[in-house]
Amino acid sequence: MLSLLLWRVGILLEGLLLLRGFRGKTLAKYPFFFAYIAFALADDVLGYMQYWFAGWGSYAKWFWVGEFLALIVGCGIILEIFRCVLSPYPGAERFARTAGFSVFVAIAGFALIYPHTMPALSPGGTMFELERDLRTVQAIFLVGLFGVIRYYGIPIGKNMRGMSLGYGLNVAALLVGSAVRSYAGVPLPGTWNGIMQQASYGLALLIWTISLWSYHPNPVPDTSVRLEEDYEAFAARTRSAIGAVRVHLTKAARQ
């Protein structure tokens, strides 16, 4: 009952969000994000109709296809945050891109080694495990992205803050849910786990609806110091200054 209620509320919020995106002209500003919402709405409406007319068994077959596609389309939200927040800051963007690529290489390497060192995936839990692993990759990318934004003190507007918060909460809840399911083998519908995932998605939709009600661009940086010379020299000088202070403070602390 609660599950159905959350489902209906989710469809309503997705529709409202798309409507607001269209009327508030945010749809063109955040195309990846609204593509995700449009996909989620189509997925939910079709799934709901299937459930209504053909019953749960028929819907369950469709569920994983929709879930997997939503996961892929959801990566667009990470791209959206990356594009909108970091594009005015080429240095921070480059740093985040390199960090992201390094993480990707590390994960790809781990994925190649993992099957040879660990027991095979359990056949029944393969989809849970796949979802869990992909959500983990998303979570690591988000943590890295938020870390770079925080480290460089990049200001963020209301739209981006809401988009990040909503998607981050949703990914965290889905990751925890899929990890617990793949460990305990709990089936999805009607359990606390399924309800928690639906509720977290509902919360994310609520956050998105409020924060993306109208267009709030990211604050534009006022000034920038233009570093015309070699960056390496700039970094080395700062490093040298910090190194000198560190050595002396460490010495002093030991005395």
Binding site: P90, G91, A92, R94, F95, T98, T136, A139, I140, L142, V143, F146, G147, I149, R150, Y151, Y152, G153, I154, P155, I156, S164, L165, G168, V171, A172, A173, L175, V176, A179, Y183, P219, P221, D222, T223, S224, V225, R226, L227, E228, Y231, F234, A235, A236, R237, T238, R239, S240, A241, I242, G243, A244, V245, R246, H248, L249, T250, A252, A253, Q255
Partner: protein, 192 residues
């Protein structure tokens, strides 16, 4: 079970990063006058906090020896408490100026398209360790008193000399870029 814990930890890490990432208002470092800010931080370090006179007055034992030999126990206790407070305030100020230097670096580097990932990582490490050293020093002064580190004067004076030398070059490096940006502004470029 270990697998489950790992995935739960990643989820918790994401939630924690959300807590730090989404404060109530849009957060950002002030962009205005970064060069003036770093110059001020360096001046405070060079001519104030790390000057031999000030460091000597706070940390050298001469005053302490005099008070110990000439005054009552109550005065000695008061003197020690005051000196400790002063020393802690000094470490706190050094910490603050280093944070200011870091802010300046990050505020500049984030705009630089040819930024090097490894150099940034090393710098991040350097800043983190210096700030950690400051905290360690603060703990040492708090626990063992201002005279627990008698060679502090020499060490900090040497640090001041080195930091000043490096900082002057550092600012010389940035000033031409600043001038170029003013030139661009007059030609209709970005306004600072």
């Amino acid at each position: 079970m270990i697998e489950l814990i790992f995935f739960l930890l990643v989820g918790a890490l994401l939630l924690l990063s959300l807590l730090f990432f989404t404060p109530g208002k849009p957060k950002g470092r002030k962009d205005a006058k970064p060069l003036a800010e770093v110059q001020q931080a360096l001046d405070v370090l060079q001519f104030g906090l790390l000057s031999p006179d000030m460091v000597g007055r706070i940390f050298v034992k001469k005053d302490f020896d005099y008070v110990m030999s000439e005054t009552t126990r109550e005065v000695q206790r008061f003197f020690l408490a005051e000196r400790r407070r002063l020393a802690l305030a000094w470490v706190e100020q050094v910490h603050r100026q280093i944070v200011s230097l870091r802010r300046f670096h990050l505020g500049s580097a984030r705009f630089y398209a040819r930024l090097r990932f490894l150099s940034e990582m090393r710098l991040a490490w350097d800043f983190a360790t210096v700030l950690f050293a400051c905290r360690t020093l603060r703990a040492a002064v708090y626990l063992r008193g201002p005279y627990a580190a008698p060679r502090l004067v020499g060490a900090t004076t040497a640090a001041a000399a080195r930091v000043c030398g490096v900082s002057e070059k550092y600012l010389d490096f940035l000033r031409p870029a600043r001038m170029m940006s003013f030139g661009d502004d007059s030609a209709g470029g970005s306004v600072e």
